[in-house]
């Protein structure tokens, strides 16, 4: 087990210090694989998708930590045709699968509550500790399995499908477009209201001006 394989724990169970955000996880993944710039690039792209996620209560959301590690593994392959679009696609596939792992984890935790309802009701601190540790262990296993599966997806994506330079450029353009759409829509939905929309438009205009004048 490597530290990077437990990145998924940060999403809910441990700390939530945001080391599982794509901007961090993919950059660190790239760094470990010897190509931090590729890791950071794919981290930027997946961070756009992650901006849409509101990890609220019982809602269903993806775990972009293991997804970012998988994407960084593809991006760091050194193949320029798999550098952005295909790497992000591998990450998105893992992120999609991760939604189901989170639902399964919660379901198993709920089953454990039902099973140990009477023992929990006794108010024994030892029982609470054991139950809590079991939940933590389940998430550790989830994170480990998901990251391992993600690295499997990455291993496939490093060689398949065959890419042409035009196909790769089109894939890059479309995935980047989808990421930008997710970030814009996610921010506007989360920030909400006319005031936020107005500030968003002003900041967007300033950002465009900075790009043009640089």
């Amino acid at each position: 087990m490597t530290p990077i394989q437990v990145v998924g724990l940060d999403l809910v169970s441990v700390g939530q210090i945001m080391i599982s955000r794509p901007l961090v996880a993919a950059t660190v993944g790239g760094l470990i694989l010897g190509d931090p710039v590729s890791g950071a690039t794919i981290g930027i792209l997946l961070e756009l998708f992650a901006l849409e996620v509101l990890p609220v209560g019982a809602s269903r959301y993806p775990d972009y930590g293991p997804a970012s590690v998988a994407a960084a593994a593809v991006a760091a392959s050194g193949d320029p045709l798999r550098h952005v679009g295909l790497a992000a696609t591998a990450g998105l596939i893992v992120a999609y699968a991760s939604e189901f792992t989170i639902l399964e984890l919660r379901r198993r935790n709920s089953q454990a509550v039902v099973r140990h309802m009477e023992r929990l009701a006794t108010g024994d601190a030892g029982v609470i500790l054991a139950f809590h540790r079991a939940g933590l262990l389940r998430d550790l296993v989830r994170s480990f399995v998901l990251t391992g599966a993600g690295l499997g997806v990455a291993a496939v994506a490093r060689t398949w499908p065959p890419m042409t330079s035009r196909g790769a450029a089109l894939l890059d353009a479309m995935v980047v477009g989808a990421g930008l759409a997710a970030a814009v829509a996610g921010t506007l939905r989360a920030a909400g209201g006319y005031l936020a929309l107005r500030w968003f438009a002003i900041a967007l205009a300033v950002g465009i001006a900075v790009v043009v004048l640089r």
């Binding site: 441990v14 961070e47 998105l92 108010g123 890059d172 968003f200």
Partner: protein
């Protein structure tokens, strides 16, 4: 500082480890609360400790960074001998208010705001600057909030509504959304420019079109479809088109 406070604060970092649909964050909250109850009259073998721990595993949920408010307030109420029914009502009231406050302040405000700063720097500065500044900015607020939450809850006890009316919280709630909008709005052109380096003008048009369609779908046509699924759909379409356009 109250005895057990540091241990309780530390346990708040794993408060959601056993999150479930049945009790939600209750077991993690009980685990964080327990060190603050050890010095109740009678100690850990006393009836008050046993009753308090038993009560603490009942349904509870909140934003993870603000659970400390509830932990501190409940512990104080237990020490002051507030009746159990009143403590249960306090937990119920805190469930919705802390959840809603934390979601607006953190998930919809501080996190996208720090992310926007990180993205803008990642696209314009050396590779390590964006992630490092993102982590520093975000966690400065995160750790401050967790620490404040536990202390404020303990100070206020059953009168915790006072702590939730703190001016800095009200101010934070007012500016969180607009700040996130400014941060991400400014970062998006920089990121788009960085990710489109070396791409032909024709494909710039494709990127713009995919963005416009995606925003329209997400905000008006099918808000539940989600950016992840849209991204996967676009990737499949691009891979298929790439095969036809060798």
């Amino acid at each position: 500082m109250k005895r057990g406070m540091l241990r309780s604060w530390w346990r708040l970092f794993v408060v959601q480890a056993s999150w479930n649909y049945d009790r939600m964050a209750a077991v993690g909250t009980a685990r964080a609360l327990e060190p603050l109850l050890r010095d109740l009259p009678g100690g850990i073998d006393g009836a008050r400790y046993q009753d308090a721990v038993r009560r603490s595993v009942g349904f509870f949920n909140s934003h993870p960074y603000l659970i400390g408010v509830a932990v501190g307030a409940i512990a104080r109420a237990e020490h002051e001998g507030v009746p159990g029914q009143q403590i249960d009502r306090l937990k119920t009231a805190l469930t919705s208010s802390l959840g809603s406050m934390g979601d607006r302040l953190i998930w919809a405000g501080a996190l996208p705001c720090a992310s926007g700063v990180g993205l803008a720097l990642a696209a314009t500065e050396p590779w390590w600057v964006g992630p490092a500044v993102f982590l520093l900015c975000y966690n400065a607020l995160h750790l401050t909030l967790r620490t404040w939450a536990l202390r404020a809850g303990w100070r206020a006890g059953a009168q915790v509504a006072r702590a939730l009316g703190a001016p800095f919280l009200r101010f934070g709630l007012r500016i969180a959304g607009p700040l996130a909008a400014v941060s991400v709005g400014f970062a998006i052109p920089l990121v788009a420019d960085w990710l489109s380096t070396g791409v032909s003008p024709l494909l710039h048009g494709v990127t713009f079109g995919v963005t416009a369609v995606g925003v329209t779908i997400a905000l008006w046509l099918a808000p539940t479809f989600g950016g992840l699924r849209y991204g996967l759909a676009m990737a499949v379409a691009a891979l298929a088109a790439g095969r036809l356009w060798p």
